[in-house]
């Protein structure tokens, strides 16, 4: 098992693992709607499937919130 950080919390995962795989692993509610930062840089959606994660990576999932009403 290897350690990465997801939204500031430590997570143990098994490599190889892509960003798409991590999204599935975390049961992200709307995988098509999540914004992903990898080590402080935003990833383009088209690169989720080909981006391999490595030990110590820090990933942020950001979600749309459209309310205000």
């Amino acid at each position: 098992m290897s350690k990465i950080k997801v939204n500031d919390e430590s997570q143990e995962v098994t490599f190889p693992l892509t960003v798409t795989g991590l999204i599935k692993l975390n049961n992200v509610l709307q995988p098509d709607m999540v914004s992903v930062q990898l080590n402080g840089e935003f990833l383009e959606r088209q690169d989720f499937e080909t981006t391999e994660l490595k030990e110590g990576d820090e990933i942020d999932f950001l979600y749309f919130m459209g309310g205000g009403c």
Binding site: Q30, M33, S35, F42, L62, Y63, G66, G67, G68, C69
Partner: protein
């Protein structure tokens, strides 16, 4: 500008603050702030900015008060149902603080009126309830070089960031609006009323910090919280080189009404 005795008393708790003082309060009284949306977020934002003595408060909202608004839109009262929200808001602001000049726009914020309206203000606050307008506010402010506060709430969650020219914008993190109905709105999924107050007062604090120069703004940071766990978190953001409006090769150089309109333009 000399303070009257009444003003010194009214604003004494601000004046006592080392980071604000008489000078900071004077800046607040000279401030011009536009609040877009007089709803769940707009209500606490307007109430606190009015109480703080922001000199000019612009309020834009095309809606009228509905009974279902009153669970969270604390600037509107039961007898206001059916009244334009901007009128209802103006009445409360005037009662809280006669120092404040209120400018009302009983219309929606659109690509057509955006630049004309924001040019009169120092700072813009997003208190709207839908993605097309949130992106429109972002684009208008980035293109016009205006600072603004973004706010979003849903269910038990809230998030906000502050943009100043050159710092990460809303599109840096959220490239483009989600397709219609892909992400539920508060009217579809619900929202805990107090969440609007929690996030709106954070946005109001950002405005007062901006006007007075106190502290560090939420620039290049996205603050998110969940009221079920009461966990607050700030995610560091960097301006995104590929951002379609503030990146190195922007594709958005003028305002269009919605993402659909962008696609139509591109295909022509």
């Amino acid at each position: 500008m000399g303070f009257t005795g009444e003003q010194i008393e009214r604003y004494s708790r601000h004046i006592l603050l080392q980071d604000i003082g008489v000078e900071g309060q004077e800046k607040i009284l000279n401030g011009k702030v536009l609040v877009i949306g007089a709803g769940g977020l707009g209500a606490p934002i307007l109430l606190y900015l009015a109480a703080a003595g922001v000199g000019t408060l612009g309020v834009i909202d095309g809606d009228v008060v509905d009974l279902s608004n009153l669970q969270r839109q604390v600037i509107h009262f039961t007898p206001d149902v059916g009244k334009p929200k901007v009128e209802s808001a103006k009445e409360k602001i005037n009662q809280i603080n006669p120092d404040v000049k209120v400018v009302t726009y009983h219309e929606f914020f659109t690509a057509e009126n955006a630049f004309d309206i924001i040019q009169d203000y120092d700072f813009i606050v997003d208190g709207t309830d839908n993605f097309p307008v949130k992106f429109l506010i972002n684009d208008a402010c980035v293109l016009a070089g205006k600072p603004f506060s973004h706010g979003g709430i849903l269910r038990f969650d809230g998030q906000t960031l502050t943009h100043l020219p050159g710092t990460a914008c809303y599109r840096c993190a959220f490239h483009s609006p989600p397709p219609p109905n892909a992400v539920p709105t508060c009217s579809q999924a619900g929202v805990l009323g107090a969440i609007a107050g929690m996030l709106g007062t954070i946005q109001a604090a950002e405005v007062l910090k901006y006007l007075t120069g106190a502290g560090d703004l939420l620039t290049n940071r996205l603050l998110t919280f969940n009221a079920k766990t009461m966990n607050f978190r700030t995610v560091n953001l960097k301006p995104n080189k590929k951002c379609p409006v503030c990146g190195e090769h922007p594709t958005i150089t003028e305002l269009v009404e919605s993402e659909q309109a962008v696609c139509e333009l591109k295909s022509k």
